[in-house]
């Protein structure tokens, strides 16, 4: 199979430099054009800010999912195509619990258990926003993580453990099987209908949330509390993962294993325990990501994670596979790409821009955009 011995007359270094240069030039031109648009007033500053903000929000949930994908890629050594469906698992399990708790005494069990598969239990009436039922929402978040972790561990035991030494491609193919089975088991229970499960987000003005005296332009700003919840939860989790990797023995073992599995084995790092931790952290974050996406977007569908998967892959690849900080940086690039590209291209082409970027990076900088930077 294709090995890394690639080189030819056009040596890799120059091809990389050429493509890197072209990309930089393109970005330069776009920035210049952006300045022009702002100066001429064709692009109001508020619109630029909203694109940027949406990009940051998107990059946070992509980032949460990307951490897990990057970890399984580097520690278990395969491209896990079922990762997107772990995101979906988190979304469905978490919101089921949120409905079960939040809707006690309001809606019937059937609608709550199956997330409105029968059309009952309106999100508004069940109180599905962070102010109406904060306990239910937070409980849902926790359960999303737990259920996804349990599902991932079960899958690992049933499938991936049997294939530990089979190599990347058989594992990749098996993960496609897992993705199909998992997604359509969810569909079997919850049906394939796309539906709204979250009430419209409370949007208080900033002055209602902060006791300090605020200047007028800030005080009247409204805050989407669901988006804010997503941002805060995601940032807290990312910080947590950072602390875990940097300051615990487990984190050090994981970093060692993602660098060199064989060496890690020789130095006596307990492989299976690290793999266990990988699934716990990776799938937990994926589950939370799925839950938060639904909180932000309001609607749920069984294709939620699958449609996101290629974007998550793009983020991981851009950041350089195996580096968690790279995956986060890659997520930021992808999030901003799909949103800022809207300045120039229609919204149904923005994913094309992201995928094209991913392919270019895969071919010309397979170690990621930030290779050479010290990573975890």
């Amino acid at each position: 199979m294709s090995t890394g011995y690639g080189r030819g007359r056009l040596s890799n270094v120059t091809a990389q430099e050429v493509v890197g240069g072209l990309l930089l030039a393109l970005i330069g031109i776009l920035i210049l054009d952006l300045v022009r648009l702002l100066v001429t007033g064709e692009l109001p500053l508020s619109r630029l800010w909203s694109f940027t903000w949406n990009g940051i929000v998107d990059s946070l949930y992509i980032g949460l999912a990307a951490i897990g994908l990057s970890m399984t890629y580097s520690i278990l050594r395969f491209a896990n195509f079922s990762h997107g469906d772990l995101v979906t698992t988190g979304a469905f399990s978490g919101w089921t619990v949120a409905y079960l708790v939040g809707g006690i005494g309001i809606a019937d069990l059937s609608s709550r258990l199956l997330l409105r598969a029968d059309g009952g239990a309106q999100p508004g009436s069940v109180g599905m926003d962070v102010l109406a039922a904060p306990v239910a929402i937070i409980l849902g978040l926790v359960v999303a993580a737990i259920v996804t972790i349990l599902v991932a561990l079960a899958i690992d035991r049933l499938v991936y453990r049997q294939l530990r030494d089979a190599g990347g491609i058989p594992l990749l193919i098996a993960s496609v099987g897992v993705a199909l089975a998992l997604r359509y088991l969810i569909a079997f229970v919850y049906t394939t209908d796309t539906r709204i499960v979250v009430a419209s987000p409370p949007q208080p003005e900033l002055s209602e949330l902060v006791w300090l005296e605020l200047p007028a332009f800030l005080a009247e700003r409204t805050i989407n509390l669901h988006e804010a919840t997503l941002v805060i939860a995601a940032l807290a989790l990312i910080l947590g993962v950072h602390l875990l990797l940097q300051y615990t023995k487990l984190g050090k073992s994981m970093r060692a294993m993602s660098d060199n599995k064989d060496l890690a084995l020789i130095t006596g790092i307990p492989t299976e325990r690290v793999i266990f931790a990988t699934w716990v952290i990776g799938s937990g974050l994926a589950g939370v990501a799925g839950y938060l996406i639904v909180l932000d977007r309001g609607q749920i569908t069984i294709n939620l994670g699958w449609f996101l998967l290629l974007l998550i892959f793009a983020a991981v690849i851009l950041g350089g596979i195996g580096s968690i900080y790279g995956a986060l940086a890659g997520s930021l690039v992808i999030g901003l790409t799909i949103n800022l590209s809207l300045i120039w291209i229609p919204s149904d082409l923005n994913e094309i821009a992201a995928f094209t970027l991913m392919i270019i990076v895969l071919i010309f900088r397979p170690d990621g955009l930030f290779s050479g930077v010290e990573t975890a």
């Binding site: 011995y5 080189r7 030819g8 007359r9 040596s11």
Partner: protein
């Protein structure tokens, strides 16, 4: 084919200009070693990996028709040199000239088609192909390697005819190496030593002029090693040139006519085995680098 015939033939193949150039530089470099008719010249070869310099200005020549050994402590840059010669890596600086042709930085397949064929430290047999399929892959200029000739009926007739001739040669080669009883076996099922034999046999079917053997004796049991060495000598008599990287000093000292010692990416010493054995610098390098 006798030694002189082989030489004459390859001289004829090279353009007059290249032949002259190669002769000229051979006389220039007589100081570095007793090389009268170099088939391979490596000049100031440099290869970096990131911040590490694996080969740092290596210079040596290989005499046509000789068995030359390339030795050195671990990390001396022997394998990288091999990979630079055969086009697996693109050297950062320097030149590799094979039989009067500059092959620096050319693709591995191009180098192989010039008649410079290598084997690998860990044998790279094609595991899910049979031994015979492995062998049949090797010959150069196979008509059937073009898609349309393989498919179009009339053209395929020629392919089939050629296959029959190649099949004969493949069987002969297998018999020469006494692995013909394994012909139908998947190459992946062979023992380590048998794979080494297969790799050498396969390389020979490409009609090379020179063979680069990367640790041909590693993982080979003593009786097979003896057999392999006698094959190498027999092939040398037929006119082939060998350059081998080897860790087994007995093999180097007893079977090579000329030995090149690499250390820290450069050539530390070269000469006949007896000289090398008594060379203080070499002993120092080996002891310093823990043998």
């Amino acid at each position: 084919m006798s030694d002189s015939e082989q030489t004459a033939e390859s001289e004829a193949a090279a353009t007059p200009h290249q032949a002259a150039e190669s002769a000229e530089s051979a006389t220039e470099r007589t100081g570095r070693g007793p090389v009268d008719d170099p088939i391979l010249r490596v000049e100031n070869l440099v290869k970096h990996f990131g911040g590490i310099t694996a080969v740092d200005g290596a210079n040596f020549q290989v005499e046509r028709g000789s068995i030359t050994g390339l030795i050195g402590p671990n990390g001396a840059g022997k394998s990288t040199t091999f990979n630079c010669i055969t086009g697996v890596y693109d050297p950062n600086d320097g030149a590799v000239v094979f039989d009067g042709t500059d092959i620096t930085g050319r693709d591995p397949h191009w180098v192989a088609n010039q008649g410079l064929v290598r084997t690998f430290q860990i044998a790279r047999e094609l595991p899910e192909m049979t031994v015979l399929e492995n062998m049949m892959l090797a010959p150069k200029n196979q008509l059937g390697e073009s898609l349309w000739r393989s498919v179009v009926p009339i053209a395929r007739r020629e392919v089939v005819d050629q296959e029959e001739q190649l099949r004969e040669r493949a069987w002969e080669m297998l018999e020469f190496f006494e692995i013909d009883h394994l012909a139908g076996e998947y190459a992946g099922n062979l023992s380590g030593g048998q794979r080494k034999l297969l790799e050498l046999a396969r390389a020979l079917l490409t009609d090379p002029e020179m063979l680069l053997l990367d640790e041909p004796m590693a993982g080979v049991n003593p009786s097979l090693e003896k057999k392999l060495l006698s094959h190498v000598h027999e092939l040398q008599e037929r006119g082939y040139t060998f350059l081998l990287v080897e860790h087994d000093m007995d093999v180097i000292m007893n079977h090579c006519e000329h030995v090149i010692v690499m250390h820290q990416g450069t050539v530390l010493a070269e000469g006949d085995p007896a000289d090398i054995k008594s060379n203080e610098e070499v002993i120092e390098a080996y002891l310093g680098g823990e043998i």
